[in-house]
Assembly symmetry: D2
Homo-oligomer: 395 residues x 4
């Protein structure tokens, strides 16, 4: 069923041994006090990872998509206006969801590879004198393009416009891998899942909710029951859930957050940056370009690599799987066929990253792309060596 | 974290070793062909367990509650009328969900302990000449009261009334444990979860959808994205999901359905009946009554046991946990404090059942209830002995 | 592969979840420092469980039988004389091993069901003026007969005789379940395995060696390499083994000893006594006798139950397995067919014990033995209830 | 506890997921028929892997070292003469064991890096007119030097000399990875363990015994009990062991042999050769030498790499672990400090091998050795690409 190769998709990530064991629990009674001892530390752990003191955490047996639906269905009413940009597949999907829920989405067009256009947002928000815009949606890390946007800048845009709209952020592929500051950035709802920075199997939507967003639940008219955070809040207050909780995954989340916090969030982010930088050095050595347009947009959890015009990037992914048993990510949506993606988040070492880079080289050589074997590996090795030595010196 | 005692809650059930191992998978690429080899056999297996040829199966990373929401949000529009009875906590909750989604629910009051009133339904349906009722909701097994309703009779009621309403059935705590005939009974949507008859951890909503219900998705106006079965159907056609699938649980579902089908569904149901009957013999020997009003309503997956007037049934549950590390189910809703529940579904042997019965005796004796130690055990032993011998003879 | 029923054999025992996970390790480099961090705490933990400060611990990838061979081959030379009693299958086998290794064994005949005859030993030792006897062998707990012998009395016999012979004790089915005091009793070599009181899978011989026995290794002429404790000692000094160590089992041993010590050894012993006493109350209620001749010989880890004359006890064991999927122990050697055994050591709760007792009742009733269903269960329940209440009061 | 990097020690190897799960079994009754269903197929599977029809298989809870002791103690008597060569650490240790068991070992000196000197053996055997030599010992694969010897040639030497001595072969690090033909080569005892080609955790000594060697057990006078193959044979005949069997590991062995046989032994060997050849290409690209003196001696399970004169090879191993969390093998005995070793056996893919090669490059660069980053990787990539394409073509 597995060949023990790591995966290089941008999530679900490689699951550390201890997390697999934490998730693989025998059945306990989820109405017994034992459950509370799993649930509450998990929620507290997530709060710290989100860097929020004021927010409340809600965890649903679902996925990030369910987290998006939680965000909008608990706080908005049909016809409500939201502002968003479409700069990749995941922002596209969130916009689509809003539209299907009867929301009025003002979409700012953006090149795929670009980030959330905070300046455009500021203009629009400033122009919205009647404050019809209820929510600004932002995707912190566009998994499809490997683009990390500047959420602090979006907050500054809201503030500069003096606009009371809430700020909802999709942090599915950033939280736990790259810095995320819910309180400092004034994020009203942050959405993530279990299968990325938390290094767990898929199956959890994890949502952080500000007091302001909690208030909005009182007037929101979109129907919701499964994703109703007020029901969930009542459940938590009684050490329970409004339905059967995913006990094993919550047990894993409890341990996962402890692991991240024990390592130190800044160390976790630095570790991701180091691994990502090695991958980027390899890409540069191959003479290839990232989909992300500018260095400040480069994601530390996933790199989307543009292939030469006329070449089908999907071949890289399919050949890697067939010939070497390695999973890379395909391009999605507007960049389908134009990019392939290397995920480098979660439990991934420099050594494992090198095996991914080496495989990409073999694959591209097999497919006739002008990539010299060992060239990207050498560039990444150089980076990993230097940074390993620097880490050692620091310690 | 566990004392190796079995649990006696009516789900999540004790998870067989092989299913725990099937769920505990390393990460695979869910966009690779490997995923399809897990997904499709799992869906096919569920079809057979539901005894449907015509229906389509959809599995969401969610719970039974999410399955209810899937059923109504994909097929109905705000203001649509549904007919239901409230005869326990779970039927109550489904009704509540409908109301929160803006549906017009006609509720037939029913004593908790009674079943779905097919005769009343027939009257109402017959009177509904304009066919305003779009859906009839029925809870096959009320987990709160240990009552199994006659779904075939509900179908006969619809047919006798010549009424075109769809029939949606909550089979969460029956499917995989008691006979369920989706096609024969004309069920339009059947809902269950992973953590009961399928003996898996919680985390999956499993939904069977008839062609008629599939058609209804085209006109239904309730908003849905996460639970949209059309998106899901498109995903399946491409061996994928519209979002990250719960691969491990699906792998478990694949194996679980194979286990049930290899054993033979009729044998599975007979096994559940045998274990349940032993529990009921014990209850009778204690001189106690079930919540279920009549023998034909007795559930083979859970027994709710009435305690003497004035005694708090919750004490049985809390004392069992504290003194003996055994989890029974509390009473819920209208029967809170009046019943305690013994779950006897899934991977449970006669030997394990006897340990639950023996514990209940100790607990009740500790709490001063007039139960003779060993009395229920002896009655159950007699039943298990006889039926074991009969099984052997038959084999 | 398993029906989730507990086993009631006198070892290997039911393995707690956390220990299974501790054993199930990915490969590490056993020559790296990580291994020392597993090995040394495991050895220290075993020392505490053996209640020795002076002794050294050696752990071989082997079984208790290998532990016996370790004891004799490291300390004795061909022709050396040892004193032993044969009061069950395991003492018989150790004697046989000595003879096959060319030792001169003086065997004191003893009824199976009796203990080590300390008084006879004293006579013989006193008479051995030339101190030809080098070692006295004693089986602390005869697993075949459920007899616990008084090792302190054997030490007193040696002391009273002023005899310098070493005292080697088989504690395979006592250590970790019943009190064992290596230093206080002057035990020179204590032998056990992983699969009994330590609740691990089989695969380890665990041996405690006094300074006096260590000295004897210098002159002992029996050949040994695999079991040579001097090689092993050198390995340990370098954080290693003379060959590939069983890393996972050692990791389990590390955790197992921590669990026992965290619970408190006296609590562990009291827990075993409580469970055993319930089983004995059941046996008495059935009107049956233990193989152990007198109460002070009753073992807290296993009970061997005599069946009526003319009845084949093996039928109990085979029928239990076939009809109910429950494993009891057969009679061995001289008591084959005359007794069956219920193991009650390791990770076993009162609730699990009751399921074993209930099964034994069904089995005996099926086989026509005059046992009233529920009678033994009721007696055990009464004991467990009372003692649970007493425990609660104490806490 | 683990960073998910593969290990590159020459065993224990990376354990495939399915084998870890097969080993991690709940307790079963090892005296029940279920055990026989695990044991016998495992023994049969080993026979096929050893390519023997006439031989019998014995599996002890032990290690390869215990397998050596099994071989000699069951077939020889004190003073018996054996012929051996010392060409590495493991042949050295087997000789040492023989001497400690009172055997008279004629040692043929051989350079470390050389193979078993079949021609010298032939001379000696021819000269031994009185047939005092009872056994010829040969190490098929010297794990310390990465040298595979020609066992067929040793057999030819025996035949040419017309000598009746038995042939005992240490196949610990060859069996299951490189071709081994017990019957064709006239091997009388073959020894291996669980933790190399069988890809299991350590804990099993696996021994194949020819009819001639079985006969020798009748007259052999070396004492043995734990390792007595006659006791073991009696046990197997009754579906049991003479002591507690390592059930989980045997369950793993059963599955492991099935996996090897399903893949096809020749495919398994070709796979090992392909991976090994990539490592050797990398070594050549680095401008370094193997310890093995000639290509026909190159092992497909481990490569020992000579470092430049004056450089301490142990630094490679310790720095790899500290800086990159990767385990290589140190040099042992005569080549300590002169070589480091890369294990490439068991469950190892080309991709994983590349990560080991890349790490070795970083380590050597860090330590100032004149190795160009990416150079070995590129050579190995070229080999893996070509051979992957060839495999695809063939399939």
């Amino acid at each position: 069923m597995t060949n023990q190769n790591p995966v290089f998709i941008p999530g679900p990530t490689n699951i550390p041994e201890v997390l697999r064991k934490a998730v693989d629990m025998p059945t306990i009674d989820h109405r017994s006090p034992v459950f509370g001892e799993i649930l509450h530390p998990a929620l507290e752990g997530v709060k710290k990872v989100l860097k929020t003191v004021k927010g409340q955490i809600f965890v649903f047996p679902s996925t990030g998509t369910g987290g998006w639906e939680t965000a909008i269905s608990n706080t908005l009413s049909p016809g409500d206006k939201v502002l968003a940009t479409r700069n990749g597949m995941f922002s596209h999907r969130w916009i689509d969801m809003c539209q299907r829920h009867g929301l009025d989405v003002q979409v700012v067009t953006q090149e795929w590879g670009g980030g959330v256009p905070a300046d455009k947002f500021e203009e629009i928000l400033t122009a919205d004198k009647e404050h019809r815009i209820k929510v600004v949606l932002a995707t912190h890390n566009e998994t499809a393009t490997g683009v990390k946007s500047d959420i602090a800048a979006v907050r500054r845009a809201l503030d500069a416009a003096g606009h009371p709209a809430m700020l909802f952020v999709d942090g599915v592929s950033s939280i736990g891998s790259m810095d995320f500051r819910m309180d400092e950035w004034g994020v009203d709802i942050a959405v993530t899942g279990s299968q990325k920075g938390f290094m767990l199997p898929p199956g959890l939507a994890i949502v952080g909710v500000s007091p302001k967003a909690m208030e909005a639940t009182e007037t929101a008219k979109l129907p919701r029951t499964f994703f109703d955070i007020r029901d969930m809040a009542k459940g938590y207050a009684n050490n329970g859930y409004p339905y059967t909780p995913p006990v094993g995954l919550l047990n894993g989340l409890n341990l996962s957050t402890r692991m991240l916090l024990d390592e130190g969030l800044e160390n976790v982010f630095a570790r991701h940056h180091r691994i990502a930088e090695g991958v980027r050095q390899a890409i540069a050595a191959w003479g290839m370009q990232l989909c992300a347009l500018r260095p400040e947009l480069y994601s530390d959890s996933v790199s989307a690599i543009r292939v030469p015009e006329g070449f089908d990037a999907n071949l890289v992914v399919s050949h890697a799987l067939e010939a070497y048993g390695i999973a890379f990510g395909t391009g999605l949506g507007d960049v389908a066929g134009k990019v392939f993606r290397i995920g480098h988040l979660g439990s991934l070492t420099d050594v494992m990253a090198l095996s991914g880079i080496a495989t990409a080289e073999m694959v591209m050589a097999d497919l006739g792309l002008p990539v010299a074997l060992g060239s990207g590996v050498a560039a990444a090795q150089e980076h990993y060596r230097q940074s390993a030595a620097a880490l050692k010196k620091a310690a």
